[in-house]
Structures are given as C-alpha cells and as structure tokens.
Amino acid sequence: MPDLDLYLSRGFNRLDRDFNCELLIVGAGPAGMAAACAAAKSGISIMILDDNPSPGGQIWRDGPAVSLPEEARHYRRQLEQLPNVSLLCGAKLIATVGDKKWLYEQETASGIIRYERLILCSGARELLLPFPGWTLAGVSGAGALQAFIKSGLPVKDQRIALAGSGPLLLAAAQAVKKAGGQVVLLAEQAPASRLARLFLSLWRWPDKLQQSFSLTDPHYRFNSHVLAAEGEGKVERVIVRQGRRRIIVACDRLACGFGLLSNIEPALVLGCAIDGQAIRVDEWQQTSRADIYAAGECAGVGGSELALVTGSIAGYAASGNREAAARLWRERRRWRRFANAMERAFRLDKRLKQLPRPDTLVCRCEDVALQQISGAADWRQAKIHSRCGMGACQGKVCGAATRFLLDWPLATPRVPLAPARLSTLIKAWRAEGKET
C-alpha cells in the first residue's frame, strides 16, 4: 500500500472541486447542448459535464483541422452566454456516491457534483468487432479515424481502407479525402438491395438526400466486409470479402466501425431500465426513474437531428415546461422514422459473427483470445475464467463485441466507470462514509 499522504502531497488532485446544481447534464454533444439551452429558460442552475476537451460531442468535435458548422457555433455561443449554465470539460464520470451525487475526475482535479435532476446525454460509441489483425498498429475505428483527423492527425498521401457498416463510414471517408488521404476501399456489409430501399425513402428527409449525394465515393462496395488485417508490426494490407470474391488491398491504415452503440453505462449504474440497446424513455424523455431523463444517442441512435430535438424535449420537461416539450413531439417522430430506416438498412449480417478466429484477441485490455471464452455462458463466467473485460476499458469494447458475437445477455457495469486515480477514489470512500 503506498503512503497516501505522500501521494496526495506530490500535488495530484490538489484541486478539490465540488459543485451543486439543480440540473446536471451528462454530455455536451448536440443533445446535451440543446437540453441546456431549453432548460436554461426556467432560470434553474445547470451544470454540463463532458469528457472531451471542448463541447460538441463527436459530431461537432472541435480541433485544428475542423471548421465547425454554424449550428454548432450557435449552440456553443449560447452555452457561453447563458448565466445559469456552467460547463465542466475534460471530466469523466467515475461513480455514483450516494443519492444524486456523481464523483468525477479531470486531468488534475476531481470532486463530487450534487444535483436534483439529471439528463443523461452520454451519446454513443462505435461497435468495434474483433477480426484477425485488429490489434495491429494503424487499425482503428472508423469514427475514430475521423476524430483523429479532426484533432490533427496527418494522413496526406496515405492509402486508407474503411470497412464496416453505416453512414459513419462515408463521413470518415470524406474526412480522409479532405485531409489529402487516399481512400482505397470502402466496404459496407449491407446488401445493395437494402441500401437502394433506404435511398428511395430519403425524399422524406430532403437534407439527408442531399447529404447522401455529397458523400458518394467511387470505392463504395456493398455486401463487403473485412476478413483480416495483415502486416509486420503495422497494418500493410487488408483482406476483404466482396460478394463471393476475396480481395487483398494494400493500405497504410484500416478503419473499421460496425455502427453505433448507445452509451448506457451511467444509466445502468443508476438503475434505469433499458429497452433493447438504449435507455428506455417515455414521451417526456423521462427514464424509468422520475428524476432522470435521457436524450440523444444514449436513448436511441438516430443522428444529430434526433439528438437535438430529444435534448430540447428533455431540457423543457426536466425544468417543468411540458407545454414547450410537447410542441416538439412531431419533429421527434420525423427523425425517429429516419433512425428506424437507417437501422433497418444497416442491420448487421449474422456472418460477421464469424469474423474472429479462435486465436483472435477479443479483449484488447487483457489479451484474451476468443477460444478462451467461447465456452462461457455469459460475461461474468468469462471474466472469472479469463479476465476478459477486466482491464482498463472495463469491458466497453469486448463487452459489446461479445454480446454481438456470442449472444450473451447485457451485463451491468461496475464502478469505477473509467480508470481513476487513487486520490479520486478516496473521495468516493469519504463521501459515502459521511452518509453512514
């Protein structure tokens, strides 16, 4: 056991920052920003916590290679100008510490936030599926590559392969081209027939139809998926199934994403009910717990338009303005229909369950191969026998992957929700100690 006083005296966590607010919003993406702007009209004190260095979420992620759209800048200006809204960036949720209290951690500070009502806008992450070679250097998520480019990664003249499913692949490809990279492959697992049906339905959402034209790429291939990445120390080529053919494409990077997955971990820790893959909400965006609302991708993946409207509804409802919330229901229905159309079109093929070989690592944190866990009935059993999911990511990658690959039931996450410093955890212990 290290000397705790010595550890604390070295200057870690010198900043003790506890906060009180009436409404806590977790996540400063489109949903969180819209929720704050709506709720701020009531005059209550609002705090937004976000784990990125600046607000905007993934879609409006800021960086040196980004020119933010006007809508994003509008919401940022609003947040800065509203006197009853404060924003805490670079802050991760670590654990609940008693009723209506979250422990958070920043780069050098940590503390406890007490709130009366909560809106979860925790967003979504990519579903990352294991395949041979997915741990090689230069292999990343598709949305991840887009985020890296926005935050300054140079890809000029690099050959980049993208594979997986969903519109994010096209957006990532566009980011690559804009940054001077060369898209050498764009493999979409969905069959052409389903995508054609989606395309023919897009007239209902004219902005999306227009967007779909701007995102087209000559390398887009339907009914195609990655089989393996190969190379010495780093990815050098990707092997892809294209229809019935097997092709090899040389590349400097490979980015794979298999759609989006709601971040429901904070909701699970709080005991909110889950509907399928997302947090269950009613017409007011209220969860199964009366004081907790959810909006945006964590309450159902559907893109930034749905996130904005559900965020506004949650913000109004949580601050007592049900009339304003109800006025937005029609708009929400429109974008939910769009979300459903996307979900149908990009549904994952069962063949993707065959992606990993027995010796493919499934848990990247603890280097656990598929063969070590394939006999297990659920994640808990797998953890006991192999340490799968017990590493630094707390099973956020392999937990979701094994659910898809092996049909395991949803496992409840354990706190801390993110790796935390000992000095932060001591605060949790002290906070809970005071209560008993």
Binding site: R125, L128, S140, A144, F148, S151, P154, R364, C365, P419
Partner: protein
C-alpha cells in the same frame, strides 16, 4: 500559418502543430505507438473517443488518454512499456 509547439516524447523533442491531441502528435514521431499490451504487443490509438484506453500514455507524470488530451508547450509524454 499554423503555430508550432515543442513536446517531449520519451525524452526526445518534436515540433508539432498547436492544438492537436497527443494521439495525433504521436504520428509526428517515428512511431505512433502508445503502450505495450499485457502480452507485449505494441498498440496504437484505437477508438478515438476515450473509451478503449489503448491510447493511454504518461503525460507530465499522469496516465492520460492521448486522444482526449491537447498538446501543450513542453509537455512530457512517455509511452507505457
């Protein structure tokens, strides 16, 4: 014109554009790797959004996700062996 700053990666100085993340800055060094896995493989940034922890490095003495940390002048970054 982009402003440039100096960072130290494993003790060696590199000049990188101001405002980029540590994950992006590692591409300006000779290798993008961040840490060694429990079985000794080198890994690189993977999820890009602070979830997977593959990009964690030591920054000014603290373990940090490289994809969510912005480079600052004279920042000390060390790969995890």
């Amino acid at each position: 014109m982009t402003l440039l700053i100096t960072i130290l990666v494993d003790g060696q100085a590199f000049t990188v554009p101001d405002g980029i993340t540590v994950a992006a800055a590692l591409a300006y060094t000779d290798k993008q790797t961040t840490r060694r896995s429990v079985s000794g493989q080198w890994r690189t940034p993977f999820c890009g959004m602070g979830i997977c922890q593959e990009c964690r490095v030591t920054i000014n003495g603290l373990r940090r996700p490289a994809c969510q940390t912005i480079c600052r002048e004279n920042m000390h970054i060390e790969r995890i062996q």
